[in-house]
C-alpha cells in the first residue's frame, strides 16, 4: 500500500506504446486525478488505490483496445467506478454519503468532461493543514500530487521505507478522521496556510538538491519535481508574491546545481564556481519572477532568499559577489524568521564585509543555541573564519567537527583537505 503512481508502471515490449501513454497521463495528471477523486471523499488513500487500479486496467486494455482519445477521462471514469464499488462494499453511513455525492457527480457529467476542475491546490492545502505534522507535509505532497512511492520519499528524508509508508498511511487516516476540508483557505488564514505549503515544497526541493553529485536519481528527481510543483502553484496562484519568490529561489539554485562538482566529482564552493557553467536561462527566468513578485510590495522570506541568490548570480555580470547586499538581506531575514541557518549565513556575510574577526564575533553571539551543536554549516563557517584569523588550532578542531557531521563524501573530503592545508602552513 502507499506505493502507486507513475513509478509503478511496468509492462513489457508490445505494451510499450500503451505504457508510454499511461506514463504520460500519469506524469501530466496524476495529482489532478488524485485531487479530484479525493476532494469529495476526503479519502486520499482510497483515491490513490482507485487510481492505481485504473492505471493497471489501462496497461491491461490499452495495448489491445488502443489508447483512448482522452486518456485522462478514461482513467478518471474507471477510478470513479472503483471508488463507488469500494464505498458500496463498506456499507457504512459515511460510505453512503460519499456514494450519493459520487453518483451526483456522475450524473452531472463532470467526470466525463476533459475539463474536470483542478483540485490540486486544495489537495496541497489539505496536505499542509495544521493537523498534519510539519515533517510529514512534504512527504504527503510528494506522494499525493506526484505519486512518489514511500521508498523514494524515505530515501530523500533519511527514513526507512516501511517507516515512511506507515507515516504516510497515518497522515492520510488523520485527514479522513479529522474531516480536513478540501478548500482554499480564506483571506484571514491564508498567510500561515500558504506558508506551510511553500515550506513543504521547499523542503522537497532542498532534499533533492542536497544530492549534489546526482548519485541518487530519485533524489535529483525530487528537486525537479519540486520545481514542477512550484510552477503548478505559480499557475494556480499567480498573484502571491511568495509563491513567485519560492519558484525564483528554486530556479536560481537549480541554475548552478551541476556547477557544485568538478568532472572528477570534487566539491566546488559557490564563490569558486565558474559562472560560465551556470544555466543563464534559468537565472533570467528567476530574475523576472523575482521582479514580478517585487511589484506586489509585500516581502517575505522566499523573496529575500531568492534575492540573496540573485546577488550571488550577479557575479555573472560584475565578476564580484555583492556582499553588502547579501548582508542587508540576511539582516532582514533574521528579523522576520530568525533561525540558526540565517545566523550562520549572516555571520559569513559580516565576515565578507567587515572581516573574519567580525564574522567570528557574530557567530559567538549565537553559539549558545543548542541547535548548533550538530549543525554542520555552523562548524564549517567557524572553521573557515578561524583559519582566516590565523587561529589554526581552533580551526583544526572546527574542521573536524564540520567533517564529522557531513554526510556528503565530496564536501567531507573538501573540508579535510582544507584542514590539512592548515597544517602545512603551520610547519
Amino acid at each position: 500500500m502507499a506505493s502507486h503512481g507513475p513509478c509503478q508502471l511496468n509492462a513489457d515490449g508490445p505494451a510499450s506504446a500503451a505504457r508510454a501513454a499511461a506514463e504520460r497521463a500519469a506524469r501530466d495528471s496524476y495529482g489532478r486525478l488524485v485531487a479530484y477523486l479525493a476532494a469529495h471523499t476526503r479519502d486520499i488513500a482510497g483515491a490513490e488505490d482507485a487510481l492505481a487500479d485504473a492505471f493497471a486496467s489501462a496497461l491491461a486494455q490499452w495495448p489491445t483496445s488502443g489508447v483512448p482519445q482522452k486518456p485522462e477521462s478514461w482513467l478518471l471514469a474507471v477510478a470513479r467506478r472503483r471508488q463507488v464499488d469500494a464505498s458500496r462494499r463498506r456499507r457504512t453511513a459515511d460510505a453512503a454519503r460519499e456514494h450519493v455525492a459520487m453518483i451526483e457527480d456522475e450524473r452531472s457529467g463532470i467526470a466525463a468532461e476533459e475539463g474536470f476542475p483542478d483540485e490540486r491546490l486544495k489537495l496541497m492545502f489539505v496536505c499542509a493543514a495544521p493537523e498534519i505534522e510539519p515533517a510529514m507535509r512534504a512527504p504527503l505532497i510528494l506522494q499525493t500530487l506526484l505519486g512518489f512511492d514511500a521508498a523514494t520519499i524515505g530515501a530523500a528524508f533519511l527514513v526507512s521505507p516501511s517507516t515512511m509508508g506507515q507515516r504516510l498511511v497515518r497522515a492520510k487516516a488523520r485527514i479522513r478522521q479529522n474531516a480536513i476540508p478540501f478548500r482554499i483557505p480564506d483571506r484571514s488564514e491564508m498567510p500561515g496556510r500558504l506558508d506551510a505549503v511553500l515550506a513543504a515544497i521547499y523542503t522537497a526541493f532542498a532534499e533533492g538538491w542536497s544530492d549534489a553529485a546526482g548519485a541518487d536519481p530519485r533524489r535529483t528527481n525530487l528537486a525537479s519535481e519540486a520545481i514542477w510543483l512550484g510552477r503548478v502553484l505559480t499557475s494556480l496562484m499567480p498573484s502571491e508574491p511568495e509563491v513567485l519568490g519560492l519558484l525564483a529561489l528554486m530556479l536560481f539554485a537549480d541554475a548552478r546545481g551541476t556547477s557544485r562538482r568538478t568532472a572528477a566529482g570534487a566539491y566546488v564552493p559557490l564563490a569558486d564556481q565558474d559562472v560560465a557553467t551556470w544555466n543563464g536561462d534559468l537565472i533570467d527566468e528567476a530574475e523576472s519572477l523575482l521582479l514580478r513578485a517585487s511589484r506586489f510590495r509585500t516581502f517575505g522570506r522566499y523573496q529575500i532568499e531568492a534575492a540573496v541568490q540573485s546577488a550571488h548570480c550577479a557575479r555573472r555580470r560584475t565578476q564580484r559577489i555583492d556582499w553588502p547586499a547579501i548582508r542587508t538581506l540576511y539582516e532582514a531575514l533574521a528579523q522576520i524568521c530568525p533561525s540558526p541557518v540565517v545566523s550562520v549565513n549572516l555571520a559569513v556575510a559580516v565576515a565578507e564585509t567587515d572581516g573574519p574577526a567580525a564574522g567570528l564575533a557574530h557567530l559567538a553571539g549565537v553559539a549558545d543555541d543548542a541547535r548548533l551543536t550538530d549543525y554542520q554549516p555552523y562548524w564549517a563557517a567557524r572553521a573557515d573564519l578561524l583559519a582566516r584569523c590565523g587561529d589554526f588550532a581552533e580551526a583544526r578542531r572546527a574542521y573536524d567537527r564540520a567533517s564529522g557531521l557531513q554526510s556528503d563524501p565530496a564536501v567531507r573530503a573538501f573540508l579535510m583537505a582544507r584542514r590539512e592545508r592548515l597544517g602545512a602552513s603551520l610547519n
Binding site: 526507512s160 573536524d400 567537527r401 564529522g404 557531521l405 557531513q406 554526510s407 563524501p409 573530503a413
Partner: protein, 120 residues
Amino acid sequence: MQYMLLIHVDETKMPKVPTDETYQMAAAYNAYTEALRKAGVLLAGERLKPSGTAAAVRVRADRTEVLDGPFADTKEQLGGYYLIEAPDMDAAVQWAARCPGSSTGTVEVREVWPAMAPAN
C-alpha cells in the same frame, strides 16, 4: 534509546598496504567519532580486524565446532561498530548517514533492546 550502527564494508576493495586513501579514511573516522563524542551521543565504538582472522563457533549436540572466517558469507563484512544514544530511529539514521562507512559500504542501524529488569 540505544542504537547500534553496524558498518559493513567490502574488504576486497580495501588496499593491502596503507595509501593516501587509507589515511583519509582514518581521518574521516576520527572526525566522525569526535563529532559523535562532542554531541554527547557516543557510548562505544571499535574497528574490527578483517574477517579473514575471524573464527565462528557453534555448539551442536554437545559438539563444539570452530570454523574459520566470518559467520555470514556476504560481499560486505562487518568491519566496525558504534553504539550511540539517540532519541529515535530517525536521529540514529541521521548519524548513520554521516558515518564515512555509509559512503563506501553499508551502515545497518539496529535498536538495542532495553535491558530486562531482573526477576525478583
